[in-house]
Amino acid sequence: MNKFIIRRLIQAIPTFFGITILSYFIIAAAPGDPVSILTFNPKMSMEERQQLAARLGVNDPIYIQYLRWLVGDDWMRWDTNGDGLADRAILIPLDADSDGEPDPPGERRGILRGDFGRSFVYRDNPLKLIGERLPATIELNIATLLVSIPLGLTIGILAAIWRGRSFDQSARILAVVGDSVPSFLMAFGLIMIFGAPTLNLLPMGGQCAPVRGGCPPIYQRLEYLVLPTIALSLGGIAGWSRFMRAAMLDTITSDYVRTAKAKGLNDRIVWFRHSARNALIPMATFLGPTFVSLLGGATIIETIFSWPGVGRLLTQSVTAQDYPVIMASVVIGSVLTIVGFLISDILYAVFDPRIRL
């Protein structure tokens, strides 16, 4: 097992760099440029635009931008005589903004030295921006998983036990509805029914009441979680229930289940102790991606319910071509995906003794 883990971690290194190179090149090569988006204002002069572009480094070749992001630019342009202006440069010009004066020395150290740069839009550390919103995303996603997994698995088991009967048919319809109805439509519908326009039972948005002093502990504001959790869970319930039903039906025909029945065990023991436990083993392969999804934001749900998660931030960053925030999320997502799938493989071996790593 240890050798397996070490081998996978070593393999993860080129995977990680491959993801970041591909991502950066795709983002930087996309049409449009962040300076135009930031400076769409007739009062801004051409010189200011050039200075901003130079400060952001967006006019440099893409491989230079990637290098700057990865290992910084303090080694690309530096000051040897202490006058505050760079007098040596490699790979990048001394006067990038073409104002006739050498530019200040490079200050970036790159992500390998823990420097994720500064958001083009918010001019703040991307990790800080993501970190501000991550707790809300984790909160919503955990709530969603706590609802969708138990409910989905239970429905799937019962649908398999009562296959062909009305419960099974209903579960199938629920799965289709849960998968088909667009989440924004579901979200609006929930707000209009349960919110102030009709029943006025639940809040229409936000993580808590807009009062100073911040949000109270989660147990004092559970009502704000209800509607977004329902909207997000339906798709998960549909997926888990169908998968569990199929896995259960697979085990029904296996020898050990037939043996258990032949031995006279009652149906409940056969279904739950033998069949369901073995049907759960393939679920382990989903746990890794599920772990990753904890930190992924649901942009549409966050927008409609005014939920302060990372989904909206990332969507805004893509629209604004805010490279530092996009790449920070790529790094986080890559690391989590690699770790998540590693966890999946390990769990699979743990659950099924026949699997050897």
Binding site: M44, D124, E132, M192, P210, R212, A320
Partner: protein
């Protein structure tokens, strides 16, 4: 004696009653300082990027810092013009010298930051120095930017001095009627605090752009920021320029509600105090009995929507001027380079149908770069919807329907491009690409309507809604588009100068705002002349701008469409709301929310 006692008692009772009743009549319209409830306003955009007035570049940041810092000039909410001694403004008076290049501003001497430190010219100068250092990013302060050699980079401000603590002297490189408002383009910050925090290392401000200001000037203070949730400020009773003599609301909250539809529903539910009603819901607010109780104010907006028409060749965008400042000849656009074609387009589209059918009647037609609230607006300039006249103009321009088949586009027969640029263009079809930014239902509907209208008179129109950042903006600023839908918001006070949009100096592919590459020598001369009218005489300037409007109307570099009819609504229980066309929130410090909804 008995009677006297009776009258004495009666008199005392009346006096007692009077002490109770009379104050009620003399009472102001508030409940008292900080007793006016919590005002909640929705923010459908991003979080504020900064709370530092010097770094504010986005609308969300401006929405916050407006409560924290004074301006040197303030708009009179009743007139829409910069005037002295208006609430929140520092200027007590101002005057130009005889050359028109030196502006002396006398500051009010009764104003102080909320830590008691007087607001003086030193505060303004600190901001000027910060901007001029080039160390901070502020896209609205070009007027103060200087090149490395000290020459003005963007505007015309040469120097700013403070001969005494309450006088600011601004020197311009030349007399310019438009440059006056640029003095207001930078925020004023408490220099005594900023000196201590940053000194002259202005760049360090950007290390923590969302640092909370500890000293401010305005009706609200003490920011509490919850990312992606809300910004909250509490009343600042030290603010002197209040309507009632105190700040009535207890708190002002800027609530993040990214979806416009949800924002409207939350307003109807009473969770939000004031709402800019989306155009798609304005008729509901006018006619639905369930919404009758909300207080509403309708006004003409100060921006307009238009289709920009590229007059130059999109396959070879050129700047308007070379490095020596000489005009660079522009190859005309194969179709839109001919003014007859542009005029035909302005007559081919039924703008009334767009306003009634797509905008639910919420719009006023315009036909130039001037809006109805402008002091130079000419209501006589109006496009005439006439399909036959449009077709006739196309015939005249050399775009003919050679096969009498409405399904096929017209073709060039001796059109302008074939005559003057490329004879092999003869016989080419009349094709145009129409682009609108993606994501707006109204924009898409207008695009479809335009396509149908243009196809009806013989165009073959390719219409697409495309992503703003990655596709629309690069085509627009790169000048590779044909027709593109856009809106301008003109700010206050509304100035009729359009130099930033129609002169060769700002025809710069990738950067300038004359992306239609429009050039008219008479217009250039008029705009230059209007900026240096002696004494900035309004009547003399108006004559010039009226002629400028005629040129823009006739030459049609834009298809000017409409000004939005806007509506703001507030809760029925909100008192002391007195909106004007120029501001709906100028008297926020007097607002009272009775029976605060839970």
């Amino acid at each position: 004696m008995k009677n006297f006692s009776k009258w004495l008692v009666l008199g005392l009772c009346l006096v007692l009653l009077g002490t109770l009743v009379i104050p009620a009549f003399a009472q102001d319209e508030g409940l008292g300082a900080g007793e006016g409830g919590i005002i909640i306003t929705g923010n459908t955009g991003d979080d504020p990027a900064t709370f530092n007035p010097l770094l504010a570049n986005d609308s969300a940041s401006f929405d916050i810092v407006q409560w924290l810092a004074p301006a040197i000039f303030t708009i009179n909410p009743q007139t829409g013009e910069s005037e002295p001694n208006i609430a929140g403004g520092l200027a007590e008076s101002w005057s130009y010298d005889e050359t028109g290049t030196v502006l002396t501003i006398n500051l009010r001497q009764d104003l102080a930051w909320n830590d008691g430190t007087p607001i003086t010219a030193a505060d303004y100068l600190y901001s000027v120095d910060a901007i001029r250092s080039g160390q901070i990013e502020n896209s609205y302060a070009s007027a103060f930017e200087t090149m490395a050699d000290g020459t003005p980079a963007g505007g015309k401000i040469v120097s700013v001095e403070a001969p005494d603590p309450y006088t600011v002297v601004v020197t311009f490189s030349e007399a310019d009627c438009v440059a006056f408002e640029s003095v207001n383009d930078i925020a004023i910050v408490p220099s005594h605090v900023y000196q201590e925090l940053y000194g002259t290392d202005y760049a360090s401000m950007m290390d923590d752009p969302r640092s909370i200001p500890t000293v401010s000037f305005g009706p609200f203070k003490d920011i509490e920021f919850a990312p992606a949730q809300r910004v909250s400020l509490i009343a600042d009773q030290s603010y002197p320029d209040t309507v009632l003599g105190y700040v009535s609301p207890e708190e002002w909250v800027y609530l993040s509600v990214p979806d416009e539809n949800v924002e409207t529903e939350r307003f109807i539910a009473g969770e939000i105090s004031i709402l800019a009603v989306p155009s798609t819901r304005q008729n509901d607010f006018r006619t639905d009995p369930a919404l009758a109780d909300f207080q509403k104010y309708e006004f003409t907006g100060n921006g307009f929507t238009f289709f920009a028409m590229n007059t130059a060749d999109p396959n070879n965008p050129q700047p308007g001027l070379d490095e020596q400042g000489n005009l660079i000849p522009q190859t005309p656009h194969p179709v839109l380079g001919d003014v007859l074609v542009r005029r035909a387009i302005t007559q081919a589209v039924d703008m009334d149908a767009i306003i009634e059918g797509i905008r639910d009647g919420n719009g006023l037609k315009v036909a130039t770069h001037t809006i109805p609230t402008s002091w130079v607006y000419n209501p006589d300039l109006q496009y005439k919807f006439d399909v036959e006249a449009a077709k006739a103009l196309l015939d005249e321009a050399g775009w003919v329907d050679d096969d009498n088949d409405p399904a096929t586009p017209r073709v060039c027969q001796n059109c302008l491009y074939a005559r003057e640029v490329d004879p092999s263009f003869e016989g080419s079809p009349l094709e145009l690409r129409l682009r609108v930014p993606e994501g707006g239902e109204i924009a898409s509907q207008m695009g479809e309507f335009f396509k149908a209208s243009l196809d009806e008179i013989g165009f073959s129109t390719d219409f697409q809604a495309i992503d703003w950042g990655s596709a629309f903006l690069p085509e627009l600023t790169g000048q590779t588009f044909d027709m593109a839908l856009l809106s301008w918001s003109l700010g206050l006070p509304v100035d009729p100068d359009v130099t930033d949009f129609y002169t060769p100096a700002v025809d710069v592919p990738g950067a300038g705002f004359n992306f239609t590459s429009f050039y008219n020598e008479e217009l250039n001369q008029i705009l230059a002349e209007a900026r240096v009218v002696p004494g900035c005489d309004p009547e003399a300037r108006k004559e010039l701008y009226l002629r400028a409007q005629e040129i823009l109307f006739n030459e049609a570099p834009y298809y000017y469409m409409y000004v939005s009819q806007s509506m703001t609504a507030v809760q029925p229980n909100l008192q002391n709301w007195n909106p004007t066309p120029y501001s709906r929130i100028w008297d926020t410090d007097a607002w009272v929310l009775l029976d605060q909804p839970q």
